[in-house]
Amino acid sequence: MLAFDAAAQTAPGTSAPETGTVAPDTGATATAPKKVSKKKKTPRKKSSQKAAKKTSKKKKAAHALPNRDMDAQRRNALESLLPATPAAAPAATPEPAAIPARAGSSESPLPADLEAEKKIIVKPPSEPLAITNVVVEQQGGAPPAITHTPVTQASKGHSIAINARFVGDTGVQAATVMFRHAGEKEYKALAMDNAGGDNYSATVPGQMASSDIEYYLEASDRYGHGPSRSGDASTPYLVRVNAPAIAAAMTQPPTKPPERDTLIGIGFDAGAPGGGGFTLLVRPLWWLRLNGGIAYNYAGFGFRGGLSLAPCWCAVTPTLNLDAGRFLSGDFNKFASVSDPNARALLSHVNYTFATAQLGLEFGSQRWFNFYLRGGLAYFESSFSGADLTALTQGKIASDPSTRYKAGDGKFTSVAPCLSLGFQVFVY
């Protein structure tokens, strides 16, 4: 630490900055007013001698000089600065050489106006004296280290919060998010605010979230080191801005699954062409449901099982549902008015296997109760007895006894749209 004395006062407006930048003393004095500058380089001792010379040189002039208008305040200041020894003392020093012609003598000295001499010898500074302490610090440190989890998904029209942690020994300055729409050239700067400790955050306004956004982070320390970056202009992070529904499904982690998941439930549903069913539901994972139960399609009963994937627990939850089952022998004459007895016999014991893939929306609580609507595709496969087919065909040519039919087992397959609706209650 350097301490400038009163003579080395810093010129107004040149005081060293708080950042600790060194302000050389010569530089500071160079800008001081001229009169003060001369005085400050003059040692006080010389000043006394010079004052003595001036005293003798200006003895006569002392009376001749017009009275100056010196205010009492300056006078007091000067008196406090001068040593107690009278300035005229050197004048009483005996001359070592031949006695020169002199006016007055030691025995009868000429009177001296001490107050007037003081006025001449020391001129107070035009500005108040100020002693400035300048702290000299060595520049050091490094740009802050950045820890950031990239934002990858956002909802269209909704603001995007970007958070990061900046850690540096020499502070953090100018933490900034540089962002642009994907495809644009120029980045826009968005200052990050301190969110407590080393955490900083910034929010990209919702109106900017109209299309995909690219961004990177940068920051310097308080000495200007850096900037350090997370991502950069050429390899920025990409935020996919999606339509609200998709974004909600993709970015919202699951509405926090309840503290205690319900594991077991029951479900009822009805649909076409799959019929209806009563199923037992088991949820081994919060996003996975298994079901199994009995099915009824008006023609008869069957059994079925399947699984549902629910990627979130939302008020409206999208689901993917895969089911399969088999209807046992059922009487399909309930669905058709057939008079041919062989055809009726064929339809009287139809069984089929099915598999469905459906997308659905479930409304309500995933934990307790919800109802749903599903749609998708169903695959059906049914077989027909060859004996029944033979009888059916033979009956059509009964008039020709020389021709006989023999049919193997027939197969019916179909892929058709399917719909279902139902509800689920989780009870445990």
Binding site: K396, S402, Y405, K406, G408, D409, G410, F412, T413, A416
Partner: protein, 202 residues
């Protein structure tokens, strides 16, 4: 890809993949060349053969029945129905009697005749161009037949050979070689068919 376009693709794909199909891989229609089947009505005697003259005619008729969707491709509401009837093979089974076999036959062809023959001298297939070959046997490649002879299919879809009004097929059988030894003999003719009808959307 825009979501709307994605939805359209999904919907179109779903509809395009919708279908209903009925198939039966083996439907056998057996017809006795001589009626009743215990009669022997085809000249033999070891003579040279040109056609199987059953009941004195060069052709015989087999009813195929009015099976569903027999009319081939047609519209059914928004769906289009396509039907195929494949001839897997055709066979002749000798009605048993002493020394009755097909060992003397070197070549047999099953032809689709444009009309029924009216008598022993009326041959609708005199001009071969009128009678496509539906199935054939060649002793050199298929081996010597005994009392059961198999004719391999030569067509992919028999549907066009079926009369769409009365649902019959008229056949004529030409042969080379020597006829079975008995003076008259008989056989059962069997077509093994594969039937498939598929209704697709659109």
């Amino acid at each position: 890809m825009h979501l709307s376009r994605f939805r359209i693709l999904i919907a179109a794909g779903s509809l395009a993949s919708c279908y209903a199909q009925v198939e039966d891989g083996s439907v056998q229609i057996t017809h006795s060349l001589c009626s009743p089947s215990t009669n022997n009505c085809i000249p033999g005697g070891g003579l040279s053969l040109s056609t199987f003259k059953a009941n004195g005619n060069n052709t015989f008729t087999v009813p195929v029945a009015d099976v569903p969707f027999l009319n081939g491709s047609k519209s059914l509401g928004p769906a289009t129905v396509n039907t195929t009837i494949a001839l897997n093979n055709a066979t002749f089974d000798m009605v048993p009697q002493p020394n009755a076999d097909f060992k003397g036959l070197t070549q047999v062809q099953l032809l689709k005749a444009p009309r029924a023959s009216t008598g022993p001298t009326d041959d609708p297939c005199a001009a071969p161009v009128n009678c496509p070959v539906l199935a054939a046997y060649n002793q050199a490649t298929d081996g010597v037949a005994d009392q059961h002879i198999v004719l391999k299919s030569q067509v992919s879809n028999l549907l066009d050979s079926i009369d769409q009004t009365n649902h019959n097929i008229i056949f004529e059988v030409t042969a080379k070689g020597t006829a079975p030894t008995p003076a008259f003999w008989s056989a059962d003719f069997t077509m093994d068919l594969g039937l498939k009808a598929r209704a697709g959307v659109p």
